[in-house]
Symmetry: C2
Subunit: 214 residues, 2 copies
């Protein structure tokens, strides 16, 4: 009687269920919001709608999150974890220190943006009450760190080297822009029809091969 028989009840996996009353409502809310952001764009989500999708009352989310902003931050945090993992997996799939490893990090980044454009935009668009979120800033640094590490290994220099930092930032700018342009104009800009991979390898090579600036 307590559970609505018509509710899908979701149960994403069989494992962690049965934690408490509902299961893991927190994770389910985050998944619901992720979905909403993906289909209706950032700001196209509401606490009520997320609760509805998770099959709970509109007040339930407030047992897990202080307010709507905290839910969004949760989504972003989770997304950044996945983004970082993807970047690291990309690097790990190629010889340590190779140019291909650097390019694979960028490829993972672009792939993520393409797979979840709404969330990707959200991650880099949180501006309203979220500036003072040190955990998110730290995770951003963590993602950047993956790039830095790959570049350092490729150049055979320590990660603290200013030139490594500079080139890593250049590469990041580049990949970031490519990712955004790709999801913004899926139809147009035929110039982007260069294969991602060649594109990233070529550009990475160009940036890494730059003579060190005075």
């Amino acid at each position: 009687m307590s559970t609505d028989p018509s509710a899908p009840q979701v149960t994403p996996t069989v494992t962690p269920k049965a934690a408490y009353h509902h299961g893991d409502l927190r994770a389910q809310l985050i998944a619901a919001v992720r979905d909403l952001v993906e289909t209706h764009g950032p700001d196209g989500f509401s606490v009520s709608e997320a609760a509805r999708r998770a099959g709970v009352s509109s007040a339930a989310p407030y047992k897990h999150f202080k307010d709507r902003h905290e839910i969004l931050r949760g989504v972003v945090s989770e997304a950044m974890d996945r983004l970082r993992a993807a970047m690291e997996a990309g690097a790990a799939a190629h010889p340590h220190g190779s140019l291909e490893a650097v390019a694979a990090v960028g490829q993972a980044y672009v792939d993520f943006a393409r797979a979840e454009p709404g969330v990707f935009r959200l991650v880099f668009g949180l501006t309203e009450g979220h500036e003072n979120a040190p955990d998110l800033l730290a995770k951003g640094e963590g993602c950047f760190g993956v790039v830095v590490k790959a570049v350092a290994a490729c150049l055979g220099l320590p990660t603290s080297d200013p030139d490594v930092q500079r080139r890593a930032y250049m590469l990041w700018s580049f990949v970031h822009g490519h990712a955004f342009l790709t999801i913004d104009m899926k139809h147009k800009v035929a110039a982007a029809r260069i294969g991602d991979w060649d594109y990233l390898v070529t550009t990475s090579r160009a940036i890494l091969a730059l003579a060190a600036r005075a």
Copy 2:
């Protein structure tokens, strides 16, 4: 029939009042929304608030715009005009075909993003009901065209050359990413502390100097 911007009826100066009833409400609404977007982020605007700022009733905007989406599109359209003008001015300030002209186009882009981060984000974040806005797509192509033209002049090739298109897109990705990262993390990412200008010149050189790909 939309108003012709070159119509003599429109008072173009800073004292536009008394032209008609209100003056040029359309332009004032767009300015108000631009301001709102800048201070409260994209989606942080409302028709009511814009009307309030323009000093008119909440129904007045509907004499000039079909709905809230059309107002946003107006803001974006106006912003793209200004962005393109800035890019063209950047190129024109340096010898035709010079590397500096290319870099100046990028600098104008970054400057715009820094001066109006909210609007900049809006321009590249319109996603909900706006896909079918051919005028905006055309203006985007126009901005890209400025990059293409500068690159073509620099390489001494026609704008239609595939290599020109490719390098222009590379540069655009790069500058676009740099612009976004700059406004997203004003505080952090010390690596970005390379001077913009050196940064853009260096990168432009690297990309333009790439051996043509097979």
